[in-house]
Amino acid sequence: MPFWNRELETMPREDLEKMQLSLLRRELRTMYDASPFIHDKLRSVNLLPEDIDSFAKFRQVPFMVKTDLRDNYPDKLFVRPYDDLVRVHVSSGTTGHPTVVGYTQKDIDNWTESLARGMTSFGLSRKDVFQNMHGYGLFTGGLGAHYGAERVGATVLPTGVGNTDRQIQLMQDLPVTCLAGTPSYMFHIADVCDQKGLDIRRDTKVRMALAGGEPWSESMRDKLYQRTGIKAYSCYGASEFYGPMFLECTEQQGTHVWADLCYMEILDKDGNPCADGERGQIVVTMLQKEAFPLIRYKINDVSSLTWEKCGCGRTHPRLARISGRMDDMLVVRGINVFPSQIESVIGEMPFLAPFYHITLTNERYMDRMVVDVELDEHYLTDDMNKINAYSAQIQARLKEILNLKTVVQLNLPGTLERFEGKAKHVTDNRSYD
């Protein structure tokens, strides 16, 4: 197993946490002096950077939220003059307001180091040709992946977004071994290859992919592998951090969150830390950022983190697949439910088509959740025992995953509504009169 920075990547947890705490104090001291925004945040709870002698103490620092970035548009949070900046990215932002991110040379170096470690961990090396199908430009994905792949010595083919015919032509003509792009675009490539009678296994050398930029699932990963032989590795990041940052290794058991660059908290709805492996809201502190601070930032994503040592030998904590956004979260009988959890259960069941709908109602303020799923047409049978067994299986699995009793309605093939583009999966008919 090759490493980019073996000593650091395999450091014992105890040492890593010690390092995190000291980096945390240093970052807070720098930002306390340089950023009126961070200064005020610490003053508001009567803390000085030197007071932070534990993670528990650090949790007293108020959160940073998306609206802080919006309110300080474009560059009021920058703590370095433009003379010190070597680059600026602008993210479109899902909320509709752009976020401007500045980078010093050190910021670019940290970002690239993070990706070089991650890319090495899934097997990318100087022997590879890396076709980068992420957008170049204001979006961080394209240049980020480009720099990371160059750093590990791979040959980068900067195709950027779009022009699928040319992408496929180059995949065949050049010895491309690794793709980078969004998972949905990789499926599009697979579809077009099918139409052209091309077999990615036979007609190209592509065997792996770095997939990110949008939510996807374990079953999509399996399907992509079955169709194309491409092993896809997940990636997590956001322009506020730097860009795409944390990647999966060959174990595919979550993205390695480099503890020397990022202190990641997973919090429950009351703001208390979740147990190892327990799902909650992600809160990010970047430990070595220079151009502008990111301290206790609520990114609005939900997942779990584990410090359990990875099979690859790396000791840094691992972040599970993002299981939803706080915005998508439903609260049913006091339990947090994410539509993506239901999606993952459907993905596990071969007899289900990938369509679903959730309906919420309440009677005397008691919530009721109905999940409509659709039988795959190959599994349609007039054997009621089998049909009943299917629905019992889904119901049991949903109960296990959601910790909530749901009513499952198995629908006939082709009868659930299909949506073009973003599917509307939830109807909430609860009333509180």
């Binding site: 349609l380 007039d382 054997d383 009621m384 025992n385 009943n388 629905s391 006939l412 009868t415």
Partner: protein
Amino acid sequence: MNEYIITQLSIFVNNVPGKLAAVAKTLKDCNVNMKACNLAESTEFGILRAIVEDPDQSCEKLQAKGLIVRKTQLIGIKITDVPGSLYGPAKALGDGGINIEYGYAFTGKKVEGLFIRVDDPEKAITVLQQAGIALIRAAEI
């Protein structure tokens, strides 16, 4: 195909009021005549199981109208209108280790009996014939 194998159409409908009427209307429009039928429902959806004239062609016509239809193989046991006539065939199947999934009665112009769905129709036919039980031919319905 074995002359004792009878093709049944299973028409699937979601459990919504008025769905059976919609199916019945389609049967009428397609001019499909049912000789015997049975309604089964689970919490999930309903199934109209039907023995029709010319099942292959009827199936195509119904599918063309957007119905979800599957063909299933049944066998028909001749049963006479006297007490105890179910005992012989039921015992023969039991002794032969054959499991009956479901069944429904049929009274036709020429024959009367019971249509049953079993896991292995060919084997069931052999077992019943060896026990001297009379079976309904597809052509007799």
